[in-house]
Assembly symmetry: C2
Homo-oligomer: 639 residues x 2
């Protein structure tokens, strides 16, 4: 099969209402407001060296760590998101803001190329002494992604030059050569950024260093983080491993070489960034062991560790994974960044093998676990995305650790890049929702317009308009969640049962005016969790199409939504609600409701009284946009 | 009403099988094995000053803290437990072991009376610099309780003399007088120990210092812990409040003066020890504000914060309380010490007002949350007592922080003290289970023998044998959990509806041979939790008499017990099982069971298949004595 590659997001116009609204919100509200916050929180000031750095805003932890060590990455990620926005429409004000930051970075860069504003400002003599905790390469990775994005849209390479000088500094210092340190970062990220740079420049040294980092991870005895610690703290440091809050190698996926890893462990975002880079390298190096490891890890997370929303990492303690089937709802961490990074990984896997199982998860994470991190107004966020709330959590307008804010804005600003891929002899549609693009297939320019109100409705029309008639594949993803899909070309039915690995291939000679119809019925469904997920036994999640639903108190007044039970036999009705969020589909059902009013003790022998109620469910990604209140995804089922 | 006071435990013979077995186990296995562990873990070596202290076994936390700072308290608590054992039967070997420890403490004591082996051995120049974290007074309190217990049973006052010298040192240093520091301990305990010493010696200075500690708590601006921190760390220390893991005053109940506290907050064991001392002082000082605070706090914990097992403190993070109705099951901390300390508090409240609501909780904690901390073999423990398990938790034979081990042994070794109280004109029975004692009422010696197989059966006979006929009250607790209790005297019915505040008073002229029959029907019941407890909605706890039940995998083979559902209409049958734990009553019911065998995905749209099963429930306190396996207290109810 020929290799598919995504159509770049600037070439994909988002015409459908769903993504158009999210994109506009991010362009007009999120990205400008994020720059304000970077300024307000003195993050931008921290780059203005040699000015003295602003006073510590977030005190150091006992082990000396402060979240401020990754401020550079936040700036890098903002520039990346802002550059993606510029690809939609240039903006002199945003560009001036980016240039000002580039000025600062350029001035801050040390003569030897080093460029980390935390260390330069606060601890210039301690550079490269704590890769385990202090994120120097991680920062470099995000700055590099920003530089690449900015260069791609503007052609301005000043910051990219700065970053390349910094990378040369890093390449000289780290590696397996004589006099080099065999280090790698505790927080993976730079690996995937280096591969992007390799794709941009074709310079093999970037690919080589990414490969070095991937190969070296977990591959040394003694462990690099211990060598480094001993250099830092002396031998005595060893006994005090618990000074390091996350005193295990699994936390950073450095416990064994990556090709031997078969269980998803540790910090969720780190894991996802690592696997993304592994999948990239598996493709680029044609490395079957790396591909196999990716597949094994994919199966592990899908079979035992993913929330129904595509949230990842149940525990706040390590911001990551625990044991199989441990998916608590109220205390779910499910960091926005982790779901965003799962999208990255899924996209890489999808382009290794065009298998709908990857696109299914990409879509699930997009519409649920990732998008839930951004408020309707585009200026409030969730860092953790619980699946149940007693009414306490609220969206915040900034965070001590603002990583998630820019992760969600850079995702939405570039979301068009996940819809369509092309090969030399075909085009593949992964997501639906109303896009238009023009691609070149088999030497022919082909206009493509997918028209739908997806995800609200599964009635999809795809207009295929080659400049001149041409034979090629049109591959349609038939979502794993769908059943009874129907496809026709110019009114003539196509046998959907011929779909392979989630894609239906239509090979024919296409001519201007051809229309493919795809009908994906979207009845509301109940999902049951594997009984290994003890928290969800006796409960159901509600889903329609790619959207997971939840019950919010504001739609179910009369007490906390945890009082509601859904009878097994109750019918779920989809209802279009023009009055809510500019038009959404809610779900409704006749339900039972426990009466909370007649309780005055903590325990009693009389069962709670129970009445009837109408249950209303809203797409999960929209929760917590209308004030505080209880919320539940997994609804108790009366049976 | 005349004031009731407990009959001392050495005067109460435990004849009933239930407590006889637990007591024998503690005397013959727990207490000797605990001494071995104290030796093995170098805790005893740490007292042998001026020998250099053994190497640090548990590294210091980042803030300098190590659990070893409270090793003295563990030794003190062991001596207390061992002394209670001696009250049942003297034992030369145990006494020699205690004497050896007293030798060490006596030698370790500084010329000025100071006696804390951690500081004397490790940081002699840092005494009294960190009352907030380092437990110096807490240790002194437990040592004092040990010294009092040892003196009471042996008449040997060498250790008590040592401790009184230490107290004089403390009294000189702390107080409201000129040149004194207005300190109190971050971990309450010494307060209740000082009141015990006052009861023993009648010396008012001990009561006065306890009163000072209670009055001073949370009563200063700036807060004593901040004054102390500034002295320790300089003004700069203030900014680094988060170095202190539990950087709030609520953690140590020092946020406001104790008489103003109306919400149970912070570390659960600290809270319970504090309230115990407050109730003691309320009685001793006849202080209505203190009594009112105790009652308000009691209501708060009972109405919003207590597990159905009488476990307290849901969170491992602060070992304590969170918000109302936050009672997660699998992650319940519910430290054994907290339930033991709740028993202490309940006993004080009960003797402030002879109200069965206090005895109900005393009994509930005794049979469930406290007793669950000790294994059947008497040599394994739970520190945390979760109400649900995926099969991971196991009992341990020792703990980094062994506080719970000796708390449960000292409780069981003195359990007889909770059964009966006397006043000048009456006797009150609080607990049942087979005891014999002799008391003096209205100037008459009265033999009392309560015969029953409680808690397995509610058929109770009480033989009241005064030396000569005498008129007095016999008060019988009619448990709050019971319904349809019947009472007769010499076969003649007594109207149980006349019971007031949980006690039925029978006033008559008693004569040798009189027999009171108390019949407490014990049908198995279902308990429902207030819907505010989100975790328990749709679930039931099973209870019979004072015992809370649980499902264990070993009794419900075929998969994890979380797969079981109990239909609302299913009958619960009590079944005597002679084969289990030397005879217990289990509960059985026809139930539904989810089939786990046909799952190969994490989520699916098909409901789990469901079959039928027989559900078997075991008293909660016996869980985790037969290998690892899942467990659940709150069973999903099919309805």
């Amino acid at each position: 099969m020929s290799r598919y590659a995504p159509v770049n997001f600037p070439d994909v116009k988002l015409e459908g209402k769903f993504w158009h609204e999210r994109l506009e919100t991010v362009l007009t509200r999120t990205i400008p407001s994020q720059h304000k916050k970077l300024a307000e929180y003195t993050i931008l000031d921290s780059l203005k060296l040699p000015n003295p750095p602003p006073p510590l805003r977030f005190p150091r932890h006992a082990n000396g760590f402060t979240v401020q060590v990754f401020w550079d990455s936040d700036v890098g990620k903002w520039i990346e998101a802002a550059s993606y926005a510029l690809a939609h429409r240039r903006d002199a004000d945003i560009e001036a803001k980016i240039e000002a930051i580039v000025d600062d970075f350029e001035k801050a860069q040390a003569p030897d190329g080093y460029l980390n504003c935390w260390y330069l400002g606060h601890e210039p003599d301690k550079r490269w002494t704590n890769l385990r905790d202090n994120h120097e390469m991680y920062n470099a990775g995000h700055m590099l992604e920003g530089a690449i994005a900015y260069f791609r849209v503007t052609g301005r390479r000043r910051w990219l030059d700065v970053m390349e000088r910094y990378l040369d500094h890093i390449y000289a210092r780290f590696g397996t050569g004589p006099g080099q340190k065999r280090g790698y970062d505790g927080h993976e990220e730079i690996e995937l950024a280096l591969i992007k740079l390799y794709y941009l420049t074709g310079e093999k040294k970037h690919l080589d260093f990414a490969t070095y980092l991937i190969n070296e991870r977990g591959n040394q005895h003694p462990h690099y983080f211990d060598i480094e610690r001993e250099e830092r703290e002396g031998k005595e440091g060893k006994a005090l491993n618990q000074r390091y809050v996350f005193g295990n190698y699994e936390y950073s996926q450095s416990h064994v070489p990556v090709r031997e890893q078969d269980k998803v462990v540790g910090h969720a975002v780190r894991a996802m960034y690592l696997y993304t880079a592994m999948a990239d390298l598996a493709a680029e190096l044609n490395d079957p062991a790396l591909k196999k490891a990716c597949e094994t890890l994919w199966d592990d997370v899908m079979e035992t560790k993913m929330y129904v929303t595509a949230g990842l990492g149940p525990s706040a303690q390590n911001e990551g994974f625990t044991h199989d089937f441990d998916l608590p709802n109220q205390t779910a961490y499910a960091e926005t960044c982790a779901s965003v990074a799962l999208i990255f990984w899924a996209q890489r896997m999808l382009h290794l093998d065009l298998d709908g199982k990857y696109a299914d998860i990409l879509e699930l994470a997009m519409f649920n676990g990732a998008l839930s991190g951004l408020s309707r107004d585009g200026e409030h966020y969730f860092y953790a995305n619980p699946l149940e709330s007693d009414g306490t959590p609220t969206r915040w307008d900034w965070h001590t650790c603002p990583c998630c804010t820019m992760n969600v804005s850079r995702l939405v600003a570039s979301v068009g890049g996940y819809f369509v891929s092309t090969a030399k002899d075909g085009v593949a549609f992964h997501l639906y929702g109303g896009i238009a693009t023009e691609v070149k297939i088999a030497g022919t320019k082909v206009g493509l317009r997918e028209v739908s109100t997806y995800p609200w409705n599964g009635d999809i029309k795809i207009h295929v308009d080659p400049e001149s008639p041409a034979q090629f594949d049109v591959k349609l993803r038939i979502p794993g969640w769908s059943s009874g899909a129907k496809v026709s070309v110019n009114g003539e039915a196509v046998d959907v049962s011929k779909a392979i690995s989630g894609y239906l291939t239509i090979n024919r000679t296409w001519a201007k005016g051809d229309v493919v119809s795809l009908d994906l019925p979207m009845p509301p469904v109940r999902l049951y969790a594997n009984p290994g997920v003890l928290m969800d036994v006796g409960r159901v999640a509600l889903k329609r199409g790619p959207l997971v639903y939840c019950l919010e108190e504001v739609d179910n007044p009369g007490g906390r939504v945890q009082r509601l039970k859904l009878p097994r036999e109750a019918t779920l009705k989809a209802e279009t609600r023009a009055d809510l969020f500019d038009g959404v589909v809610t779900l409704k059902a006749d339900a039972l409701a426990i009466d909370e009013s007649d309780w005055n003790t903590l325990y009693r022998t009389t069962p709670p009284s129970q009445g009837t109620a109408t249950l209303t469910a809203l797409p999960y990604y929209l929760w917590a946009n209308r004030g505080q209140g209880s919320m539940v995804v997994w609804v108790p089922e009366a049976n």
